[in-house]
Symmetry: none
Subunit: 400 residues, 2 copies
């Protein structure tokens, strides 16, 4: 739940907040050592910062729920991740850096294989490599449908994104993917009368695509799912009176930042590059989101040692951050990615908050078990921004 009287208490001030996100931050013990990635990594700078900070654990969405990148980040940006859903089509578009407009519909596509009876035999067309699928995406991109513009963009292997632009399009339609082989692709149907045009256009596009791809052994059809428009989100400027900027290298996180109205800052690929960018722009914004990807990537690869190294690299950014001297520092994760699971997980995520007015737990360690004993306790990630705003003295007293 968001605080319902935010408008009455929020005020703009020059104080600076930095939200430093290590993607997939939390982990689990390696059975061989009994220590998690954070407990194994040599992170002297994080530990020193922790000693002067308050610690806790965030629940990204809901206990037991494993978040995708969308809800994981929206929560840390101060938004209720159960209210603002970023659907699959939009996430896929964000992931390749597309800028989908509020009146456009993005949809995720797969190339698939049909037999001569029109039955799906492989929903991923043998996972054909990008070299083979990209020319096919160009074929799709040339398809025209009356009354709308359709652009096709390659993603990776058998995956692509379509963006439909035109008047009166609606996301409330069914999907064509039958979800398992042995069935025919499904007709797209409107879920409400306002979505009839979208369904008609999508079915026309699919028929044209089938014709254009006919005769191939593998990728001779498309399956579409996740029709979606960008969520209608009040910007961080409107909602929190912040002037926010994002320092992130991956398109998906840049896209998520854009949804809440952050300004994109150009930056390099390392944590030190990102800190340099932060230093250069320190005076132009009062909220900075800095995104660090490698910890999640290593966890997804189930590579414990690589995640440890990624966290050690993350640690090297802390001295530069402290030199920039923001009023409030948060170190957080959008979710946990334990190497032993090889993917995102439901575990609560270590969290650290540093400010002149935060107090300090006085423990020189930053890991899952230390944070579980921290004075912030365990709390919904959405509340982290409220804590940061309070510590930045950007929230007035509520009630007389």
């Amino acid at each position: 739940m968001s605080f319902p009287y935010l408008e009455e208490v929020v005020e703009a001030t020059p104080s600076k907040i930095v939200l430093l996100v290590a993607d997939g931050l939390g982990g689990l013990p390696d059975p061989a050592t009994g220590k998690s990635e954070l407990e194994t990594a040599h992170t002297p700078n994080l530990n020193a910062l922790a000693a002067e900070s308050v610690l806790g654990l965030t629940d990204p969405v809901y206990p037991g729920i494993t978040p995708g990148s969308g809800p994981g980040h929206l929560g840390l940006f101060g938004y209720d991740p159960l209210r603002y859903l970023i659907k699959r089509g939009i996430m896929e578009a964000l992931g390749i850096g597309l800028d989908v407009q509020p009146d456009e519909i993005a949809v995720r596509g797969n190339f698939c294989t049909l037999d001569q009876n029109g039955i799906v035999t492989d929903r991923r067309a043998g996972r054909i490599p990008s070299e083979e699928s990209e020319p096919l995406v160009e074929i799709l991109d040339r398809i025209t449908v009356d009354g709308v513009q359709v652009r096709a963009h390659p993603v990776k292997d058998h995956r692509f994104v379509l963006v439909f632009s035109g008047d009166g399009l609606d996301e409330a339609v069914t999907e064509s993917d039958p979800q398992k082989p042995g069935l025919s692709p499904l007709e797209i149907r409107p879920l409400n009368p306002g979505a009839e045009k979208m369904a008609r256009v999508a079915n026309e596009f699919i028929a044209d695509a089938r014709e254009a791809l006919a005769g191939r052994d593998l990728a001779n059809m498309v399956l579409l799912r996740g029709f979606s428009r960008p969520p209608e989100v009040a910007s961080m400027a409107e909602q929190f009176l912040l002037s926010p900027a994002a320092i992130a290298t991956y398109p998906m996180y840049r896209g998520l930042s854009k949804i809440v109205g952050m300004k994109m800052l150009e930056t390099g690929t390392t944590i030190l590059d990102e800190m340099k960018t932060l230093a250069e722009h320190r005076e132009n914004h009062d909220f900075f989101f800095v995104h660090f990807k490698p910890a999640d990537a290593a966890g997804e690869d189930a590579d414990f040692a690589k995640k440890v190294r990624a966290l050690e690299e993350f640690d090297t950014g802390i001295p530069a951050l402290r030199e920039i001297d923001p009023d409030v520092i948060m170190v957080a994760g959008d979710h946990s990615t334990p190497s032993i699971l090889g993917g995102h997980s439901w575990h609560p995520v270590p969290f650290l908050l540093h400010s002149r007015y935060a107090g300090a737990d006085g423990v020189a360690a930053f890991d899952e078990r230390t944070c579980a004993r921290g004075s912030l306790g365990r709390f919904p990630a959405q509340q982290a921004l409220m804590l940061a705003m309070a510590n930045a003295l950007k929230l007035k007293k509520f009630g007389a």
Copy 2:
């Protein structure tokens, strides 16, 4: 959120609950020593009680939100502070001990200064002292408006309270305070058709006040804001089947207690006076709210040493309380008031619960960091009364 089936589980029993509130209880470390006010104070009695109690931290309203006295206390009384808002006019009236009836409207007033063009040059009329403003309040008190009674009461310096009594008055009107100098006072407008009479009456009063004050250099006009009626709150007797009494010396806290239907007990000014009152009335009630103000006052003055002394004074009340031997003791705060901030703050507040059935954390200390590690964890202040009721065996089993 309140427990939605309270009615089904609550029962009246003779067991006694004491809610002992140290206003502004929580603090922050003095940067010089690294210790908070509670950590610095010599509080042997609180520490001994803590060793036999369970500890935790309360969030008065919402993480990051700094509560005023109204929401801070309503939460501890078991009410959702986001549902029952006590607006500024009522709080100001409570603060000077007025008894505003459910059909009356209280409003906060300032004397201000207008130039010859009717533009506000000083919203506080040079903060004229009470000696000078009190005769002016008497002038306002003599103004009569058709169909309603208007009483004017001095508060302090340039501030006063008006109470409008009469049929058909509604709080849904705009304010006349333009919020900054250089503008004219605003006309009061109704926010819904039912509030037309209130707006008309307020505008007539303002016109009469301007005439009555004309010709003065400083306080030649009034600004009104925070039109409000007392919130409609089910009493603690109705809601919790309690027979509650309040032992408090300051008018505002007596007023807040009255809103939830507590009986006011006459008492002296020290914590020992208050405990004596409690002992005398032990058999007449089953819930006692005891309010101790000096800790907050010292924190508001940014006087660390004075807050430490106030907490030490608070501590001296504990032996008398234990002699009275209530079934359940809560030691709580309505909010934190760290001396280094010099005001109310958003920090969670130390909380202690003692009863035969509470268990014990076994740690002989009562301060922010000890409570952060307490077995009650961090929880909304509104839930404290439920815990106390449970420990007093006043809540039956829920569900079969």
